[in-house]
Symmetry: C2
Subunit: 192 residues, 2 copies
């Protein structure tokens, strides 16, 4: 998605070796016009898949999931991090390791909101090692839900998550794939 | 907002004394059509206030803030809970006490995304004691930003947050105010 790539080049910040900060438009301050276009781009890729729900993880996936859901006209279900006091015990749970924070955390989804009747698209802002997505795939499997595919705004192509999921046969749509970040320069993978 | 009140009566669950669960449509699974209408309702109340940004707190405020921002055509800024490794030190910070989880946490907003040039509406899903909102007001004050008002989906009118903020002179718009929850019955305050 050229608009996203250009925005990353204009407003993204490279920190240290492999941290790409996009918090001016994607995950702290949110550019609503860009998010609308991102939602439309995901819709184009999955519109024939009879999608019933968009699934993501709090917090930074929620906005993106909402704008996709707006096009699909289906609900969003966002997984919660850590056991919430108010969720009740009727939840699917999966354990996720975060490299950013170097710790494990649980994600939970109420059994009421995901079932074998659902066909979902998993949406998130970033994919690096892909472990958050694997956690959502695990929950979808527990629910018996069909996974139409995975929509990611920015994939770090130099980390293994994307390749592993494609090797497993998932339809993974990344709107921008960063293959290299070196000396402040970002190189994107050519996309169809 | 009659649509929200009716949805609470239809799908809300009362747990224990004063917990109202609305996670089937507002803060776990998200009903996108309802959220659009909620965003439009907030827009009607603040559309003449030259709003430049919608401000909320992760996670359950984000979706609602996005649908308000869609109508205002301005960015969302969502405060993060706890110091994030990637935010940098250039942040406004305020301490918030959560009664739900019985602990204090910090909320942070990057200084880059809120300034004296901004006029904001603070949006959230719930107000009970109002401490999360007070934290955002504290951050707005640090930034020198003007606060046009506060938009809340569900206010618990039997808890002190709403009254305290109105007494301080804030324009607080709650789309549904629950004045009593007793034996499974919910009584709403009459709204204009």
């Amino acid at each position: 998605m050229k608009e996203l790539e250009q925005r990353i080049l204009k407003d993204g910040d490279i920190l240290g070796g492999d941290i790409l900060k996009v918090d001016s438009f994607l995950n702290h301050q949110l550019d609503i016009t860009l998010l609308k276009h991102i939602g439309e781009a995901f819709y184009e890729k999955f519109k024939d898949d009879k999608v019933t729900k968009i699934v993501t993880i709090e917090a930074s996936g929620i906005a993106i999931a909402c704008f996709a859901a707006l096009k699909f006209n289906v609900p969003v279900v966002f997984a919660k991090k850590a056991q919430s006091h108010n969720l009740g015990n009727e939840v699917y749970t999966s354990k996720v390791h975060s490299y950013t924070y170097d710790r494990d955390y649980d994600i939970t989804v109420s059994r009421k909101y995901l079932s074998e009747d659902d066909t979902i698209v998993i949406i998130d802002d970033f994919m690096a090692n892909g472990l958050a997505t694997e956690g959502l795939l695990d929950i979808a499997k527990q629910a018996g839900a069909k996974v139409a595919g995975i929509g990611i705004c920015i994939e770090k192509g130099f980390q293994p998550g994307g390749r592993r999921l494609r090797d497993k046969g998932y339809k993974l749509v990344s709107l921008a794939i960063v293959d290299e970040m070196k000396e402040g320069e970002i190189r994107f993978r050519e996309l169809d």
